[in-house]
């Protein structure tokens, strides 16, 4: 028993492999698109995982700090620490901004201010891929490798230079921007302090206001101006629960007595995945659906034209008395073979080019297996059209 499909493929294997390669690249794009979607969701999860928090305490009536802006006084953390069930609590501030590297290039990054003076508080970078953790309470930074900063680089955030002392991995915001960790006080200053020109203008404005610059009351103007430049706000307080504490109960207590909004891990996940990245995810999902449909159509067309190109040979086969089943099997095997080559090429291509995407691309095994099933299904389905056409061929066409 010789394999008809194998013989046919061997007959024109160059063409077959090239077709499979082209199909594979298309499947690769589809798999990458799925990976981009998974990457977006994973970015959101990574943000939550890396913060190491069980509860997020934010400004009342906001859904901060990621989905909305939230502002709390930085002494709220002390009253939070006093609540039962709270293990550790730490201030954190988030600010998405352009950070300038030594080469003068701007990098879009999320500047995270964390309490670097205590041991591994919630919100701090967890594991590093190079360098060390922050040891000074000012002007040191740990950056995600995606920022492109290197150890020892002096980066500029607002008016101060920071030294990159450590590099971390997969520390990203929900939008996929790499994070730069700096001490909280520096981040507060970067976030809430105005630029020098604005400060000088404000001083002049205050000095021009007779209510603050009265003759006979020296010191009043200075006091008012000092008040204007201080900043004691943070975006959120991250809480790690004491062992055995129930997140919902502690959250309810905090909401009731501290007049803040509190989100548990599950709620925060809901906000991030369902609200923050919902639209972009739907966008990608829509594109993924279209791409899948287009891929399926192209596979169907390829197999159909392949069969159409062999109509004469099929007529000869029929003429010499080959079973219809054998002919159908040949076409189906070829289609499945094409699908398999396409899938393998696609998977390899997607794996190879995934690291070069600017944002994270997560290729899940589950997605790959689904992709394999779908590819094979589409190939089988597409081959039925071709089989129908092949079976309707008149054996007489081989002679005529």
């Amino acid at each position: 028993m010789i394999s008809l499909a194998g013989r046919d493929i061997l007959h024109g294997w160059g063409k077959f492999v090239l077709t499979g390669l082209g199909l594979g690249l298309l499947i690769g794009v589809t798999l990458s698109m799925a990976g981009i979607y998974r990457g977006m969701v994973d970015d959101a999860h990574a943000l939550l995982d890396n913060s190491g928090a069980d509860l997020w305490v934010v400004q009342q009536d906001t859904q901060g700090p990621y989905a909305e802006s939230s502002s709390l006084k930085d002494d709220v953390v002390r009253s939070v620490r006093g609540m039962p069930g709270v293990g550790r609590a730490a201030n954190v501030s988030y600010l998405t901004m352009q950070v300038r590297g030594e080469d003068g290039q701007d990098v879009r990054a999320m500047v995270v201010g964390f309490e670097s003076d205590t041991e591994a508080p919630p919100g701090s970078p967890v594991h590093l891929v190079a360098g060390r953790h922050i040891t000074r309470s000012h002007y040191e930074a740990v950056a995600d490798v995606k920022t492109g900063f290197v150890l020892g680089e002096r980066i500029r955030i607002r008016r101060h230079d920071y030294t990159v002392v450590g590099l971390a991995r997969r520390m990203v915001s929900s939008g996929g921007d790499p994070m730069v960790f700096v001490p909280l006080k520096d981040a507060q200053e970067a976030q809430f302090l105005k630029d020098n020109d604005a400060i000088v203008n404000d001083r002049a404005r205050t000095a021009a206001n007779p209510a603050f610059n009265r003759p006979g009351q020296p010191g009043l103007l200075e006091a008012v101006q000092a008040l204007q430049t201080s900043s004691h706000s943070v975006n959120a307080v991250l809480v790690r629960l004491a062992p055995g504490a129930a997140p919902d109960e502690v959250a309810a207590e905090l909401r009731r007595w501290k007049h803040v909004a509190v989100f548990t891990r599950a709620e925060m996940e809901g906000i991030l995945v369902a609200k923050l990245i919902a639209n972009s995810a739907k966008q990608i999902g829509m594109f993924l659906v279209i791409l899948s449909v287009v891929s399926a159509a192209i596979v169907a067309f390829i197999i159909y034209t392949m069969t159409m190109g062999k109509l004469r040979e099929i007529a000869v086969l029929k003429l010499i008395g080959t079973h219809n089943r054998t002919i159908a099997g040949m076409i189906l095997q070829q289609a499945l073979g094409l699908g398999l080559i396409g899938f393998v090429v696609g998977k390899v291509a997607a794996t190879l080019w995934a690291p070069f995407f600017p944002k994270y691309v997560l290729l899940l095994q589950r997605d790959a297996l689904t992709g394999l099933g779908v590819t094979m299904g589409i190939c089988a389905l597409a081959s039925t059209v071709a089989i129908r056409a092949a079976l309707r061929v008149d054996p007489g066409a081989a002679i005529g």
Partner: protein, 412 residues
Amino acid sequence: MKHTQQGRVAWGRRLALGVVALAVIGGIAFVMVRSGPLAPTKVTVVQVRQGTVQPAVFGMGTVEARRSWMVGPTVASRVLRVVVDVGDVVQAGQLLAEMDPVDLDQRLAALDASLARARSAQVAAQAQVQDATARQQLSAGNLHRNEDLARQQFISSGALEGRQQELASANAALQAAQANASAAAQDAQRLGAERAGLVQQRGSLSLRAPAAGVVTTREAEPGTTVVAGQAVLRLVDPASLWIKTRIDQGRAAGLAVGQPAQVVLRSQPGQAHAATVARLELLADTVTEERLAQVAFAAPPPGVSVGELAEVTVQLPATPKGLVLPNAAVQRNGGQAGVWRLGGDGKPAWVPVTLGASGLDGAVQVHRADERAALAEGDRVVQHSQKPVHAGMRLQVVEALVPGGSETGAEK
């Protein structure tokens, strides 16, 4: 013959296809093992070593003057002239500015006139005293003579009584004149004191340097009215510059007066200046959660400005010898600090530790938290990892995870 040739061609093709298929399978396997799900996690490792840690405390501060003065009037007045400018070096007692005396000079002249008049009045009173004395002496002589005459019965007792009354009147007149004289003296004294007071007041209108220093601000110009206590000029003693340093309370343990420190001024970023902790403030800042320390320069560097930002690093005494690790190797597992130690099979195992002193270079001293799984010198522990490490994970030890990432803070 032809048949075998065909067979050979078919075999050749099969061989070629087989090679291609093997290459493809090999490629897929390579991709899976290198970057797929089967790839081991890449880590860098570091050896636990014996050593000491040089703890240091880092803080930010501003340059301030230990001794500074606000020079201003004691009463509300108008500035008449300011004779020094910002940057001028002044000596103790040097005239800096003068306030407008308004009518003080005229009042002084009036007092002078009053004083002269009081002195004249004093002279007049003295003359009256002399006059009264003469009258009293005359009355006394007359009485003496009349007493002799009365004893010899030459005059009536009524005439004698008249003389006695004259003497009493003369005595009273003398006393009155003497009282007048002393009143005039007191008057002159009062006016003299008043004048001295006015002179003092006049003197206080010239603002003089309380000590040698440098003028830092000139806050009022001639013509400006300032209230009592408001500064016209500010002086600092440039030799007394120090840095008011703010240090995180969480890192301030071990600070003591006299510890050596290094100061880097914002204007001279490459240059460290020697200094010492001169004072630890007993009051800490409750709002910013910072401890305040005053760090004095060994010698104030030239070009330093008051209010300049400075980075202060205070060196604490080195710790005794112990196990030392870079802080990147210390991980948290369920709130407990520890390290991932590589076993003989290359698999990581969790070793809990307690953390000791840490240095600014990232070195941290560790103590054993658990006798059963104690860390020893020479143990290899995971320093950097691509992913969070967990027990029994497959690891691949590499030199560095990112280009140029092999230099660690602890070894620098």
